[in-house]
Symmetry: C2
Subunit: 296 residues, 2 copies
């Protein structure tokens, strides 16, 4: 199947490479010519615009930073929807507001073009490995058609519901991850300030009801003072902004998410926005004037 790919950033490039490796004919476009050249050197065809890519593809994937970029690249001038044939499919894999996904989806459907929102979880390492978790919203028939393509980029692709549902699941994921990091931080900073070895506390609680993937992934990073991303604070801020705006739009107040958003904003003020989101612990360490670290 001829596949188009628009948006060759940190995530898009390895995802597109995995489609090439799987033998797909790929047409690509990005606003940065160098990233397109790199992909063309690997065997992809060069598209002149998102419109051109969509005109030459049965399925066009978009992977851009946020909602405004998705609107521009699909609905804007020279956008994918201008080029997409009736019956073709657009799959937006960016992490955006579900409300924007619904708006873009409605515009596509009005033109006879299928649309799926299919944001991913797992970050750059899993994009490279082709083991992303893909959360999909849209019509089941369109999902089944593109599922084999998605599974070249991801270990799983789950249809959650209607258009926008993929991004609702992604926001739910980001809420839980952010708050689980805050929970770990409050616990480990309190233990450290109370004079107790945070690593032993981590070991004592990880096997019980307090256990989590966040705790096992991030507590060792904090104890080793390693805040290399992983997943950057600035991206989590973007996702939490989308979560809060979606929550306010549908009428579901999320007060603790609002708090962790402010904590991440405080870290941005300190210049930590490029650090891993486990850097949230710094907020609490500053409050308590203490540092969580290995004793030995």
């Amino acid at each position: 199947m001829k596949v188009g790919f628009v948006g060759l950033g940190i995530m898009g490039t390895p995802m597109a490479r995995n489609l090439l490796k799987a033998g797909h004919q790929l047409v690509v476009y990005d606003v940065v010519p160098e990233t397109v050249a790199g992909m063309v050197a690997s065997g992809a065809a060069r598209g002149e615009s998102a419109r051109d890519v969509a005109a030459r593809s049965e399925v066009t994937i978009t992977m851009v930073p946020d909602g405004p970029e998705v609107e521009a690249v699909i609905l804007g001038p020279a956008g994918a929807l201008e080029g997409a044939a009736r019956g073709s499919t657009l799959v937006d894999m960016s992490s955006i507001s579900p409300l924007v996904a619904q708006k873009v989806g409605a515009a596509c459907e009005a033109r006879g073009v299928h649309f799926l929102d299919a944001p991913v979880s797992g970050g750059e390492p899993k994009a490279i490995d082709g083991t992303l978790a893909i959360m999909v919203g849209g019509p089941a028939a369109a999902f089944e058609r593109v599922k084999p393509i998605l599974l070249k980029m991801g270990a799983s692709a789950v249809l959650v519901g209607d258009i926008g549902s993929g991004n609702v699941a992604k926001l739910a994921n980001q809420i839980v991850v952010a708050l689980n990091i805050a929970a770990m931080s409050e616990a480990l900073v309190l233990a450290t300030k109370a004079g107790v070895d945070a690593e032993k506390v981590y070991q004592a609680i990880r096997g019980g009801l307090a256990g989590s993937t966040v705790l096992d992934a991030k507590a060792p990073m904090v104890l080793a003072r390693n805040f290399k991303p992983g997943f950057r604070i600035e991206l989590h801020i973007k996702d939490l902004a989308n979560a809060l705006s979606a929550a306010h739009a549908v009428g579901a107040p999320i007060p603790l998410t609002s708090q962790i958003m402010e904590i991440m904003q405080a870290l941005k003020v300190e210049g930590r926005e490029k650090e891993d989101h486990s850097s949230v612990v710094h907020f609490y360490e500053k409050l308590a004037n203490v540092e969580v670290k290995k004793r030995s």
Copy 2:
């Protein structure tokens, strides 16, 4: 070894029974005569007071509701410390403030009596099964002596640090569990209010970084509208009160824990204090005027 047990409540009774089953000579005391009679019928000796139990035991375990009860039963008139011989050991397995544990421990050590704080995690089911997680603070030598006894009641017994450290670990555990429940609740209520099947969102996110023991234990309960404890809101409130007072005493502000404390207080006002702590979802459901449940 002759073992004493003071405090035969919901947790203490099955813990003491596991010591009897393991063949220990047990002397027991509780303020409620009926619970003592039940244990005597099972083969335990009746103590007249905490003092009497400690006088007849090499190791005396206390398992009572909170710090004031621990102070009364160990330091008070006819308390365990009045009866304990020099070189004997008191093990308090209640969940209390680490500051109270340190105060009681210092009083014991001043009298030549060893003291360990050894709170447990796992609730009544794991108390019955003898598979509690036991977090211990105190001298290593005393810990090694009583470890075989602890492992009759628990699947694990971890020495975390000095006296009080067991309860610091327990509070860290309770902070993480409470906030992970809040995180799950914000995510699932937002998804539901956005018109998405919460069960599908749970399935879509549980395998990634958002995965946790809380999510797998509690999301199915919420979806099934089953709020039978488990672990009651009123007990979690007690633990969070101890966490906040310890945090304020040592100087480690925990603002999100303070928020989930207020949420649990709101549920108490609604008469939900006997429900499982997953009942936290009700707070968010009321805010959003929606109910998280299975669709089928």
